[in-house]
Symmetry: C2
Subunit: 320 residues, 2 copies
Amino acid sequence: VSTNEFDLIERIRRRATTTREDVLLGIGDDAALLEVPAGHALVVATDTLNAGVHFPVETPPADIGWKALAVNLSDLAAMGATPAWCTLSLSLPDADAEWIDAFLEGFMRLAVLHDVALVGGDTTRGPLSISATVHGFVDPARALRRAAAREGDLVWVSGTLGDAAAALEQWRAGALIDPGLRERLDRPTPRVALGRALGGIARACIDVSDGLLADLAHVCAASGVSAQIDVDALPASDVLCAEFGGDARRHLQSAGGDDYELCFTAPAAAREAVETAARNADVYITAIGRIVPRTAGPVMARDAHGAEWMPGTTGWRHFA
Amino acid sequence: VSTNEFDLIERIRRRATTTREDVLLGIGDDAALLEVPAGHALVVATDTLNAGVHFPVETPPADIGWKALAVNLSDLAAMGATPAWCTLSLSLPDADAEWIDAFLEGFMRLAVLHDVALVGGDTTRGPLSISATVHGFVDPARALRRAAAREGDLVWVSGTLGDAAAALEQWRAGALIDPGLRERLDRPTPRVALGRALGGIARACIDVSDGLLADLAHVCAASGVSAQIDVDALPASDVLCAEFGGDARRHLQSAGGDDYELCFTAPAAAREAVETAARNADVYITAIGRIVPRTAGPVMARDAHGAEWMPGTTGWRHFA
């Protein structure tokens, strides 16, 4: 079903109704007009997904829609921010109304869950690519910044690690993809409630998109510290354990990307407050290590026997 | 010169220094933290440029950079907003440092002109595509909205029309492209000062990206009115007149896209205030018609002899 650009925009606009009163003007003008609440900073993140790079080309459009928003909400979560609005730039090889409807189904499902209004964007012809920009608010004094980790902090991670990378590995190998792993790859859960609950309690935070060690290294570099991680303490899902063992599993957990869990640090004395925040956000968290004074390597990973763990790569680099 | 994603981001970060005090946190965290001034609405616009669709593939990277920001600033101008920050999503076939440097040269040159801080974004592998999101402020009572045109308003347009489309036509024909026309296609001037000066004076406003008649039709549809336009009153540059005449020129002026001039309406009684605003913004403007009660067609265009003018197309549709 081919259609033209204006019809596509009209299709999107019909799906983008919102009850948010801070949207003074949404889709349909040259720009959106929005109201940021007093005393809060505006938080802005942008992420792009390209077919064949960030998702297999055969990914169902509804899953692509979900993920395009999820990876962006995950960035807001890592700041401790409350999401509010998003814009969407869609490049499509052709104006396929059925594809758009399915895509929007996934995108808007997640948007509604987080009360995010779609307030603008554009549709253009080109190779399949989705770029979303999300906006939220945070009290700047409670924002979780990469540069805030301090010596003695415990390092925590939410949920489980390695599931998304495991699905990708099965897909690359041409194997049957476990449905549980695939769900984690295609429909990641942005940890918005956890990020918000950690504001004022945790120090540094980042979302795990490139792989735990690579992302934690960003935190360490920004904070001028190093981290010691117990590789055998990294949380693994039952389904990951059923499909992968030993070093293959450790590698997926420590270096696999696309998990969109939060990795954060907090003073050791805040352990109880951190655990309460996680319980209130209904997210399982695990202490995986500790922040130490800066050493040669930003992140030292050891297994339960104290042996140093060197993963094959340091995470997912699009241009590596 | 190939490099990796993190080096690219570092290259961009080095170019993106800003003295804006409302940037609490720029490139380098999960999201940017920004301060919107009290009493102002946030204004957000997104636009994407794809190689081969929005610019010829042989366009110099510095021009692509300039244009990627210009088309977005033009949307803010059409709201009467003051630009402040932008994010940039770059999809590149390979991580070419020279290309990035040239691209940034054009992008940042325009950004500095308008004191716009580059506060975030991402770089990914994929077919060449640039998506920028710009943010600005406006007093909501002074914002220029598409739905605000009223019967009796004069219709105005800034600058000259048809130059960019003329350059594209010469390029498509394989002809030598006139350098003056090419400059207008590759380095459009967003009418930011004019848009701001028109706040509180003009009523409806839109930027001419799809072609005058098509864009004015959006204003009319949103406002529930129609417009009568004198095709022979449309402003033309000397260089356009030198290269194109008669109906070919009329067609470029009325239906050619990519001009990024402002088309706006204002009460006839505000003529003097409009002209003063334009003079203060140092932009030439022309009255080209009038808003009338809604009729069957949104825009009726007539030539100087009163004959109805029907252009071959109603503007640039990416999916047409």
